[in-house]
């Protein structure tokens, strides 16, 4: 045994021992840390793992208690699992592949409360999708019912004349009328020239009256020339008239604008006084926007994440890998496994507090892989549940990772969802739903950058405990309107690309509140309107009459002389025609 030296042998044995010590004592911790880090990067919120244990010889991995916080609602978990067990293919594991033949995800719960915030210390910036949802669906806090409790009673005394835009427009109209009038005074020479020429033509026609009948052809020719001149003069008068009408139109348009601005001034003063617009859509967004936007943003975030991850794997020119990580190239033989494959995972769980009673969930997750092209099938998730009370829910998700572009779709349908405990609106206008059931169904899909889908929620048997802090009759009526609601519908339509996402939000919940507000505030609005209108009428009064007189006066001043000139020229023309066809011929003598 001369060739085998004790020292190096012991050294190698020591090295192996070191590796073994690392695996036994540190591998599980390292894997747990890696799973938490990866999960947090994906979820954008905290991920907690209670206990993790790998058994190399058995090829199993067991994780107890996994909690993934909701990045939209950090005090809630979007998902919680009491136990997850994975059975690995040991032969594939020896080849560096994580092939999970079967898995069990047990104790699935959703929306469970957290004792600590699930927000990350460094929260990732919101995605374009989240921003689009926030912009188009999140509550409109400063609209619809804003400042209604601050409605002033003496707004008419606070009118600032310098801010009335209609007054400025009236002054503009008046100045324009004056400018037009002055300009037309300068044009009087043109009118005089037409008059002068018309007189000359009249003289010419008069001269045609004498002479013998043998000069008939000469007279006809002269009459024709006179006709041409008169027609030219009429054209000149028409041109002048058209120009005058254009100027008059400009002045009148300014008057019309001033009139419209008077109404806007009135609305502006009403708004400044705290009298609301009462848009039913805005009220619906105020009541339901926060809940809807949060859930929708979460759903879109996970769908986008799944699609983006699958698409990145298929990119023909992937971006440079992060430092020290490199790029893994697979060299699969026929029928070999991808580097990671979750063939199938049975999901069991209980959905508490969502359906009024416990909903037993059963489902399956499969086809999750690192190499979609090799695996060739979509990743699917199907979960269904039914409660003893008859409530039911189902969710089907599909990631078409092998297609180009990668598509992701989500279909869900559930009835009997309990709405009890749901908060509506804010401290100003809102309430808590004490009882009620909802049916929700929807379809969301994304292919490449394009999004499509529709979500419909119908709530019935709703009992709302209003929380309204509006003063006066409006508060009581809105509270009454919320109290009287027994059901409502919400519809969200999604379309467009990721950069230009279009969301259509509609709900009839705003209509009831809006109607109540209108009813409550109708008296106040009318009274304020009347006071304001009277005040505005006194402010505008003479100014409006002056401006109107100026513009109306323009018509008579400009068009009057031109109309008179034109009628005179028309008369001359008919005279000239008479001369042309032989007015001078004495038919009585001719046929005597």
């Amino acid at each position: 045994m001369n060739w085998l030296k004790k020292g190096p042998l012991l050294a190698v044995a020591g090295g192996v021992l070191l590796v073994w010590v690392f695996v036994v004592f540190f591998f599980d911790s390292a894997l747990k840390h890696a799973l938490i880090t990866g999960g947090q990067a994906a979820a954008g919120a905290k991920v907690e793992i209670g206990f993790l244990r790998t058994r190399w010889l058995k090829g199993s991995l067991v994780i107890n208690r996994i909690a993934v916080a909701d990045h939209e609602q950090p005090m809630k978990n979007i998902l919680e699992l009491s136990r997850a067990a994975f059975q690995f293919d040991v032969s594939a594991a020896l080849r560096g592949k994580a092939v999970i033949r079967e898995a069990a995800l047990e104790g699935l719960r959703q929306g469970t409360a957290r004792t600590t915030s699930g927000a990350l210390r460094r929260r990732p910036p919101p995605s374009a999708l989240t921003l689009a949802v926030a912009k188009q669906i999140a509550p409109v806090k400063e609209a619809a019912l804003s400042k209604v409790s601050e409605a002033k009673s003496s707004i008419a005394s606070e009118i600032d004349i310098s801010k009335l835009s209609a007054l400025k427009k009236l002054e503009e109209a008046k100045a324009k009328s004056k400018e037009i009038e002055e300009r037309w005074k300068g044009k009087s020479s043109e009118i005089k020239e037409i008059e002068k020429e018309a007189r000359e033509v009249a003289e010419q026609l008069k001269a045609l009256g004498g002479g013998s009948s043998f000069d008939i052809f000469k007279k006809a020719r002269s009459a024709k020339q006179a006709q041409e001149r008169i027609k030219a003069l009429i054209s000149r008068v028409d041109a002048q008239k058209a120009e005058a009408q254009k100027d008059i139109g400009t002045a009148q348009a300014l008057m019309k604008e001033a009139d419209e601005l008077r109404q806007k001034d009135l609305n502006g003063l009403l708004s400044a006084a705290g009298l609301p617009g009462l848009s039913s859509t805005d009220i619906a967004r105020r009541l339901l926007g926060a809940q809807t936007a949060s859930r929708l943003a979460t759903a879109l975030h996970w769908m986008q994440l799944a699609r983006a991850r699958a698409a990145a794997k298929k990119a023909p020119n992937p971006p440079p890998p992060p430092r020290r990580q490199g790029l893994d190239i697979e060299f699969p033989r026929a029928h070999s496994y991808p580097r990671f494959l979750l063939e199938g995972a049975k999901i069991t769980g209980t959905l508490d507090g969502v359906m009024g009673g416990a909903l037993d969930l059963n489902g399956e997750l499969g086809g999750v892989t690192s190499n979609p092209q090799l695996y060739g099938k979509p990743a699917t998730l199907a979960v269904a549940g039914k409660s003893a009370s008859g409530s039911a829910a189902m969710l089907n998700a599909r990631l078409d990772q092998q297609k180009d572009p990668v598509g992701v779709s989500l279909d869900f349908n559930g009835e009997g969802f309990s709405l009890a405990g749901t908060q509506l609106g804010d401290d100003g206008v809102g309430g808590a739903i004490k009882d009620g059931r909802a049916q929700i169904k929807g379809h969301l899909s994304s292919s490449g950058d394009d999004w499509n889908g529709e979500i419909f929620l119908s709530a019935v048997g709703v009992v709302i405990e209003p929380r309204v802090s509006l003063n006066g009759a409006s508060g009581a009526l809105v509270a009454e309107a919320l109290k009287s609601l027994s059901g409502f519908n919400v519809r969200i339509g999604i379309s467009g690309s990721e950069k230009d996402l279009k969301l259509a939000f509609s709900s009839n919940i705003g209509e009831a509140v809006s109607a109540a507000m209108k009813k409550a505030l109708a008296g106040q609005i009318e009274a304020q309107k009347k006071i304001l209108e009277a005040k505005l009428a006194s402010i505008y009064g003479d100014r409006f009459k002056d401006a109107r007189a100026s513009t109306d006066g323009l018509a008579s001043k400009l068009l009057g002389p031109l109309d008179a000139q034109k009628s005179a020229l028309n008369k001359q023309l008919s005279d000239a025609l008479g001369h042309g066809i032989g007015k001078t011929l004495n038919f009585n003598k001719l046929f005597k």
């Binding site: 020591g14 090295g15 080849r95 020290r324 190239i329 697979e330």
Partner: protein, 170 residues
């Protein structure tokens, strides 16, 4: 497996008491170990070589420590070399065979950065060995005595715990 052995090796190297070939081998192997990303069987394999071969472990440890951050610096180059090799048509059969063997894929040879750094480490091994060998010879001949006479080294050697350590290891 005494960790202080590394220190002793290093000190021994500093005052010219080590075989220059062992120093050079330690330096070159440490460089290869430092360059390769950890967390794969190659790293484990190099670690085992580190223990098994007759080389200056102190120098290997120092070299691995120095070359680990250098690995980050040459990541881009390593990725390009690794990717070119992994995608080379002539090598596809070799890679596919290796990929299908048990254990071998755990080396992560199919990762561009791992393979690239392995190639860089292998290519640098021989030049680094000879460069460091020449340096070690020069050091032993010229610099070792000067270093021995440095005040800081004298002060260090005068420390009680160093004396105790010397007695213990000798």
């Amino acid at each position: 497996m005494n960790p202080l052995r590394f220190l002793k090796d290093l000190i021994s190297a500093l005052h010219g008491g080590s075989d220059p070939r062992h120093l050079a081998a330690g330096f070159a192997l440490g460089a290869a170990l430092g360059l390769i990303p950890k967390g794969n069987l190659f790293a484990v394999f190099f670690l085992l070589l580190f223990f098994a071969l007759r080389l200056n472990k102190g120098m290997a440890f120092l070299s691995a420590t120095v070359f680990t951050p250098l690995g980050y610096a040459v990541d881009g180059l390593a990725h390009r070399i690794g990717l070119a090799l992994l995608k080379a048509p002539a090598l596809q059969n070799l890679w596919a065979t290796l990929y299908d063997l048990p254990i071998v894929p755990l080396t992560r040879f199919n990762n561009s950065v791992v393979l690239g750094n392995l190639v860089i480490g292998a290519l640098l091994y021989v030049p680094l060995y000879f460069i460091f060998l020449r340096f070690a010879l020069y050091y032993n001949a010229v610099l070792a005595a000067r270093v021995e006479n440095l005040k800081i080294i004298q002060a260090f050697k005068g420390l009680r715990w160093y004396q105790t350590y010397r007695e213990w290891t000798s």
